[in-house]
Amino acid sequence: MASQTLNSSMQPTDVYGGDEVSAIILDPGYSSVRAGFAGEDTPKSFVNSHYGVNESGTVFGDDAIHNPLAALDIRNPMSKEGIVEDWDTATRLWEYSITSRLTSFKQADPRTNGLNDDLKDMDVEMDGIEEGEKPLEEHPLLMTETAWNSPKNREKSIEIAMESWGCPAFWLARNSVMAAFGAGKATALVVDVGASTASVLAIHDGLILKKSVQKSHLAGNWLSSQLRTLFETSEPKVELVPHYMIMSKSPVDAGAPAQATYRKYEKSPTDSFRALEEERVLTEFKESVVQVWPGPGRLNSNNQMGMTNLEYAKGQPGRVFEMPDGYNQMWGVERFSVSEGMFDEKAALPIPGEQPITKAQTIPEMVKASVNAVDMDLRSQLLQNIVVTGGTTLINGFTDRLNNELVAMYPSARIKIQAAGLTAERRFGSWIGGSILGSLGTFHQMWISRKEYEEFGANVVEKRCK
């Protein structure tokens, strides 16, 4: 290939150790995997963590898993706590998230990149194609992890990067530390509410204080369960029918039964597929209808006007939501009551088959427990440096409510909450942090090199990435 010599003024600015190859940042979560090149503002690749399995193989990515004809069983390689359970599939999922969208190396096999819906001869010759060439031989990899990731899992991550993907260098960064740095803070209390987990933990001088880590399941998926209970107990009951079941619908008045014709499938899709598709409707509902009662006070507490906040909220304008089958209604105070359980355990709606939630699982109580677990001298500083991150915190009123709860809990302390105003920074906070760090010219001294890995083995990650 003809190459043109670059003079120094034309040198690219995003160099890695004098090389022109940029690092890849991989930020895997329970609901999605974010991947992209260091130095970019948002991840180029955003892939659903759920994947589909049928008799002809495994498919990844939103283009493939939402196909109702494929008789897919929908699974997730991550546990509910955001830790990998199924390493083989997680590795393939991550590899898919990198190779399908980041174009610096060869595209994935067209049979597996999700662009073709014909699933018949999936996966047949995968091994043959991969042979001799590993997908990341030219790219250092920076991966993010949760604060509660186990040492064994951390070692497994570097093994995959080095052995399976052939990375020249690797780094593991804590997602909460990335969020704190991104807010300009080396010391912070990070409140992260994602899809599967809500967590609160303290960071001091860039290091997580292990004993301060608090987590519960009162996050996005739990909120979905609250919505299911709300729909079930509504009068009339609201049917949660996902889009793929609807052939056509006619407009109906608010509250009137749906007028829709339904699709028939020869082989009806699995329950797990239906659950995945229902979740998409619930996500839309959460994004457009649900609010957190902003406070002051709880939804059921009395305000100065001598009525409960609940009564006041009933007078607030509602919002209409149309279900895929055309059923629509105005949602009033329910918009607030479904999320109230995150702050007040008594207000949580019962979820069939699950234990009632406890006070300790609510967000304000987790903050209290986290703050109480650290040194006295540090507490007031942490309360002044609260960083809120994670997609579920984007629900309207969340930050205001947290602030009001904490002001009531610590009347003499100064409470200051920092939450990125840009939606992307809140959803992709830890990816963006990794992207900035990985693109710094000085970061080449930080990477664990292949040589170091070969010399010291996988537990080098414990020594280097604190």
């Binding site: 740095f181 300009g184 860039g206 200051k416 920092q418 760090l437 930080m446």
Partner: protein, 151 residues
Amino acid sequence: MSQSGVQVDNDCIKQFNELKLGKTLKYIIYKLSDDFGNIVVEETSSDKDWDNFREKLVNAKTKNKQGKEGKGPRYAVYDFEYDLASGEGKRNKITFIAWSPDDAAIGPKMTYASSKDALKRSLNGIAAEVQANDEDDIEYNTILSKFNKGA
């Protein structure tokens, strides 16, 4: 070691020792070099007026990736002198300030926060540290109340 690999220029330590031992300097403002490779001294001064110092932090600028100028974080060391609340005379505290305004861009904020430890650890004799993210955090009285609380 910082978490960014950013290095500390020798002059940072030299000027700090000058402030600590020479007692002629009142404050030092540090910044990241334009290529974000080193922490360097931006300015030293013997001006005792806190508000002039504060003004400098508030107006600090940095360039983003595209070369556009915006609000910038800084590090500073200030020889903070104050009267004890009990009226028992004066005290000095060499105070490290990590200034990162909330409305600065995420790139500089991330880089400064992840590099802070490199500088702080190379300066021996810091008595207090302030992490400041808005203009209230660097009011003289905010910092004073912090020191007098425990006294």
